[in-house]
Every structure is written in structure tokens, then in C-alpha cells.
């Protein structure tokens, strides 16, 4: 009697676990599957009622993205997606390069020196993580119009420092602080200057951390939407702003929009595989390791 109820309980437990796992999987993965299917459908298949899982796949939506044409209709609203993709790459790389160049010495100073104003500076940098973008983008828009930075890559790279600089400094600082002080002291006794300590001890030992910071910084730039929405124009739109161009007053180009979301998401999915273990750390500016 007893054994029977134990096996019964175990079966129920297994079924509940299997159902919960399935639910979690469907919730997480199904949207990707459905958008991938949508991106391979013709306009007629997309609008079919009920939604169809069996159809003849077509690469027309992707072809239209590359060619930059809508195949026949409303050619005035065609978004230039290859250019948007290139813009995303240029601006993200530029912003990360600038942040890392300024961030490495700053993070070294914050991790290894004591000086008045240190905590204040670190706190000010951190607070940028929580600032509403609109408070910065309004004056930036006005300034950029005057300075000729509106709708330029340089302007976007500078604006993206609001995203990447605080992140880079805090991440690098948390990686630098993990290096034991003893190694640094040993190098000093061997006659290394502060520059030698940075170049021969800190940087080589934290190379993986720097790589993680660069990749995550690039990903955050890739995700950026609101700054380029206001500060970029058709020549400098990144993929995030580019993807909403398929919604126009007349219609929504569902198939091309689906293809665009896949193209905008794929680099992120590939990069996140490389930094899996560090994503939570990156999203919390180094707070959770």
C-alpha cells in the first residue's frame, strides 16, 4: 500500500516537472520559432486564417532586405537594411573602442589608487546606468543640430558613451580588483613603474575580463534604440531603428519585419554564446558575479 502511494507521488511529481519545463521552454523559444517561420512566408501565408505551420518557404523577405526593395509596392518606404546593419557595426565598435580606451586607465585608477573624490566619481558613473534617456537626448538633439553632429556616426558614438562608458569602467574595475595585490607588489619590487604594473600585470591577467567587457559593451550598443531614434537619420539608422521602418502609415510589412528582427537578433544570440557566464554580471554592472 505504502510503496504504491510513493510511486504514485513520484509519477505525479515527474509529470508536473515535465509540464512546467515544457511550459518554460515554449514560453522562451516559441516566439523565435514563430518569427523565423513568419520570415519565410509569403504575404498570403502570413495573413492566412488560421495561422499555418505548413507552407512553401520563400527567401523573398530576406532578399528584399538585402536588395532594399519591396518587390513592387510602395517603393517610397523601402528601408535600406544593409546600410543599417553596417551603421550598427560602425557605431557599436566606435563607441566600445572609445570607452575602452578611456575606461582602462580610469578603471585602473579606481581599482588600485586611493584619492579624494574616488567614491563620488564611481557613484556618478554608476548613476548613469539608471538615468532616463529623454533627459539627455533633448539637449543632445539641440546641440547636435548646432554642431553638425546630428545624423552622423561620430555623434552617435559620443551619445553611446552614456551607455558604454559607465558600464566599461565598472566592469573593468571589478575585473582589475580580482587580481591579487601581491602580484602587483612583487612587480613593483622588481622595478615596475605604474605603467609597467598596468601593462605587464593588470592587462595580461585581466585579458579575458577585457574581452568580456568589449563583447558585452558591443551588445549593449547593438541593443540601443532610443538615442539613435532621435539623433540619427536615414543614413545613420542602426538595425534597431531600421526594423521599425517596416511599419508605415499605409501598411505593416510583416514578412520583411520578421526577417529584419531575425537579422538584428542573430549577432546578439551568437555573441551571447561567447559570454554566457558573464551576462548577469554585465547586466548588473559587476554587482553579481
Amino acid at each position: 500500500m505504502k510503496t504504491r502511494s510513493v510511486t504514485y507521488e513520484r509519477t505525479v511529481r515527474h509529470v508536473v516537472i515535465a509540464l512546467a519545463s515544457a511550459l518554460l521552454l515554449v514560453w522562451t523559444v516559441f516566439p523565435f520559432v514563430w518569427i523565423l517561420l513568419t520570415s519565410l512566408k509569403s504575404p498570403a501565408d502570413i495573413l492566412s486564417v488560421p495561422p499555418t505551420f505548413t507552407f512553401t518557404p520563400t527567401i523573398d523577405n530576406y532578399a528584399a532586405l538585402v536588395v532594399g526593395e519591396q518587390r513592387g509596392q510602395y517603393s517610397s518606404t523601402r528601408p535600406d537594411f544593409p546600410r543599417f546593419f553596417l551603421n550598427s557595426i560602425i557605431v557599436s565598435i566606435g563607441a566600445v573602442a572609445l570607452s575602452v580606451a578611456a575606461g582602462i586607465p580610469a578603471a585602473y585608477a579606481l581599482a588600485r589608487f586611493n584619492f579624494p573624490g574616488k567614491d563620488t566619481l564611481a557613484f556618478v558613473l554608476l548613476s548613469f546606468r539608471f538615468v532616463p534617456f529623454i533627459a539627455f537626448v533633448i539637449p543632445l538633439y539641440i546641440l547636435y543640430q548646432r554642431l553638425g553632429l546630428y545624423n552622423t556616426h561620430a555623434g552617435l558614438i559620443l551619445a553611446y558613451q552614456l551607455i558604454t562608458l559607465p558600464f566599461t569602467v565598472w566592469m573593468l574595475r571589478s575585473f582589475f580588483m580580482e587580481i591579487p595585490l601581491e602580484i602587483q607588489e612583487a612587480a613593483k619590487i622588481d622595478g615596475c613603474s605604474w605603467l609597467g604594473v598596468l601593462g605587464r600585470v593588470i592587462l595580461p591577467l585581466s585579458a579575458p575580463g577585457i574581452a568580456v567587457t568589449v563583447i558585452l559593451g558591443f551588445m549593449f550598443c547593438w541593443n540601443a534604440f532610443n538615442y539613435p531614434l532621435m539623433l540619427a537619420g536615414r543614413q545613420t539608422f542602426p538595425v534597431t531603428v531600421g526594423a521599425i521602418q517596416f511599419i508605415s502609415y499605409e501598411q505593416v510589412l510583416w514578412g520583411q519585419m520578421a526577417a529584419a528582427t531575425i537579422v538584428a537578433a542573430v549577432p546578439q544570440l551568437l555573441l551571447s554564446l561567447m559570454v554566457q557566464k558573464y551576462i548577469v554580471r554585465g547586466l548588473t554592472m559587476g554587482a553579481v558575479k
Binding site: 516537472i17 512546467a20 519545463s21 518554460l24 522562451t28 523559444v29 516566439p31 523565435f32 514563430w34 518569427i35 513568419t38 486564417v49 488560421p50 495561422p51 578611456a102 586607465p105 580610469a106 585608477a109 579606481l110 589608487f113 584619492f115 566619481l121 548613469f128 546606468r129 538615468v131 532616463p132 529623454i134 533627459a135 539627455f136 533633448i138 539637449p139 539641440i142 558613451q161 562608458l165 569602467v169 547593438w222 541593443n223 540601443a224 534604440f225 532610443n226 538595425v239 534597431t240 526594423a243 521599425i244 510583416w254 519585419m257 520578421a258 529584419a260 528582427t261 538584428a264 537578433a265 544570440l269 555573441l271 551571447s272 554566457q276 551576462i279 547586466l283 548588473t284 554587482a287 553579481v288
Partner: protein, 299 residues
């Protein structure tokens, strides 16, 4: 004079400032426009009518109190944040506890959960916009039809729009909460559990009196990040409802955007942006105190 200068130099007193100089220059490049914005919030700056530019002191702020949309946007900002944070931290805790229980396939699920987390939020919004098509061609309405639910007008109705934004934001950020809490669970010490087991505590008592108190710093951390992001949510709302219908999903950030980039009233828009900023500062202060209490209680 020159001697002490040189001594400071040798000792490296100035070195950290030198190292920080490039970052501080970039930082100044961000703070200057902000200061300019604070000034604009005290003016009647209207981009299309440069002649009307006047210094108006706090008129833009006082006007907000009489603006019905502002009150509704403030309500929506706070209400959305409260519901989103409770929902996401609650569900995230459930998912974390579930994954912590060594279920089969945990590593795979954990890896897959990074996917919604790392794609651009605006792309998340567009994906759901496709799935939430209000006609019968929308996959979500089709799936719900099996449960006997009539087609929902997701973005066209007031309630539907609010629920849609909530669902989309939760899909994108639930993994963030779950992964933080899962990391916290895996870092918990084992001794308190052994002690509780000796005392004969059941699984519910164990969760209530051992796990949750020990996990509280991680919960507060997840809460803080989610609250700060929900107060400022923009991408998802912009790409799906743009604040509609009837301003039902207009939060302070969307409102400030509309004032400044649709009607070009930069002074008013900036005043709204600063009110939002003050709100964020206030909430972060409250959360910081909560954080101090949580981390003290575990020590």
C-alpha cells in the same frame, strides 16, 4: 614650491587624476548637455518658434500640475512599475526555485533563457507585435481560441494595450530576475538547511524561514534593477502602442518624448524629463535603504 610639486609628482599624487582624465572629459561631455537641459526646462523653448524663447522660471513645472495627461502618465508610470516588478520578481523566483531543484535539462533551459534577455528590446516588441496581431491570423489569438477565448484586440483596446506591454516586458526580463536569483540560490550556504532539517522543517517552512531571508539581498537587487528599468520603459511601448490607445500606455518618458519630438516643445518636454529623473532618484533612494536592511539582516 617647485620642490613640493616635484615631490607630489614622484609620489604619484596626481597619477590617478591623470589616469581618469580621458573618462572625466567624456563624462563632462554628458553632464554639459544635461545642465543645458536643466536650463531649457526653465524656458519656453519651442523649436518651431525661436522668437518666443523666454526664461519662464518654473512655469513649465507648475503647468504640469494642471495637465491631465501628466497625472495619468505619472499614474501609469508608477502603476506599471509596481505591477511589472511584482510580477517579474514573483515569477522569476518561481522559475529560479524550479531550476534550482536539479530538474533534467536545467543547463539547456538556462542557456535558452539568455535568448530573450540579450536581443534588443525593440526587436522583442516587434516579435510580439507580429504574434499579437488582433485578427485571427495572429498566432496568440489562435492559440487562445483553443481555450475558448474570443480574439483579443491586443493593442487597440485600453486594457489590451496595458496587458500587452506587460507581457512583452515580462518575456524580455523574466530571465534577468530568474538568473540573478538562481545564482543567489546556488551561492547559499548549506549549514542553515541542515540545521532546519534537524529541527524537522518541511519544504514550505524551509522556503519561508531559510531560503527567502538568505536570498533577500539578491531579491532586493533584482527588484532594484527591474524597478529602475520599468520606470523608464520606452522601447517596447514606442514600438507597439506609442502610448495609445487614448494615452492608456503613455508613461512619463513617452509623454516627454511626445512633447519634445512630436510637438517640439523642448522646454516642457525637458521639465517632464526632469520630473521623471527626480522620481527615479527618489525610488532608488528608497530601494537603497531596503538594500541596506536586507544585507544587514543576512550578516
Amino acid at each position: 614650491m617647485t620642490k613640493s610639486w616635484r615631490r607630489h609628482w614622484r609620489r604619484g599624487t596626481f597619477l590617478p587624476y591623470l589616469l581618469l582624465a580621458p573618462a572625466v572629459v567624456l563624462l563632462a561631455g554628458m553632464i554639459y548637455p544635461f545642465a543645458l537641459g536643466v536650463y531649457y526646462s526653465l524656458t519656453s523653448y519651442w523649436l518651431q518658434y525661436p522668437n518666443r524663447f523666454r526664461f519662464v522660471w518654473f512655469d513649465n513645472y507648475v503647468d504640469l500640475l494642471e495637465e491631465p495627461l501628466f497625472v495619468r502618465a505619472l499614474e501609469f508610470t508608477l502603476g506599471f512599475t509596481l505591477v511589472a516588478v511584482v510580477l517579474q520578481v514573483g515569477l522569476g523566483l518561481a522559475v529560479a526555485l524550479f531550476l534550482h531543484a536539479r530538474i533534467p535539462g536545467r543547463a539547456a533551459i538556462r542557456a535558452l533563457m539568455l535568448m530573450p534577455l540579450m536581443i534588443p528590446p525593440v526587436i522583442t516588441a516587434l516579435m510580439w507585435k507580429i504574434m499579437m496581431a488582433s485578427t485571427n491570423a495572429g498566432i496568440l489569438n489562435y492559440a487562445l481560441s483553443f481555450l475558448g477565448v474570443a480574439p483579443i484586440n491586443w493593442f487597440g483596446s485600453t486594457q489590451g494595450a496595458i496587458v500587452s506591454v506587460l507581457i512583452i516586458d515580462t518575456w524580455g526580463n523574466l530571465p534577468f530576475v530568474a538568473l540573478i536569483l538562481l545564482g543567489g540560490l546556488q551561492a547559499l550556504p548549506t549549514e542553515p538547511y541542515e540545521a532546519a532539517q534537524v529541527d524537522g522543517a518541511g519544504p514550505i517552512a524551509m522556503l519561508r524561514y531559510v531560503t527567502l531571508p538568505l536570498l533577500s539581498p539578491f531579491i532586493v537587487l533584482a527588484l532594484t534593477f527591474r524597478a529602475m528599468d520599468s520606470l523608464r520603459i520606452f522601447d517596447v511601448i514606442y514600438a507597439t502602442t506609442t502610448g495609445g490607445p487614448n494615452d492608456a500606455t503613455t508613461n512619463l518618458q513617452i509623454m516627454a518624448y511626445q512633447y519634445s519630438f512630436q510637438w517640439y516643445q523642448m522646454g516642457k518636454g525637458m521639465a517632464q524629463a526632469i520630473v521623471l529623473l527626480l522620481l527615479v532618484v527618489m525610488v532608488s533612494y528608497l530601494l537603497m535603504r531596503l538594500w541596506n536592511r536586507a544585507s544587514e539582516s543576512t550578516q
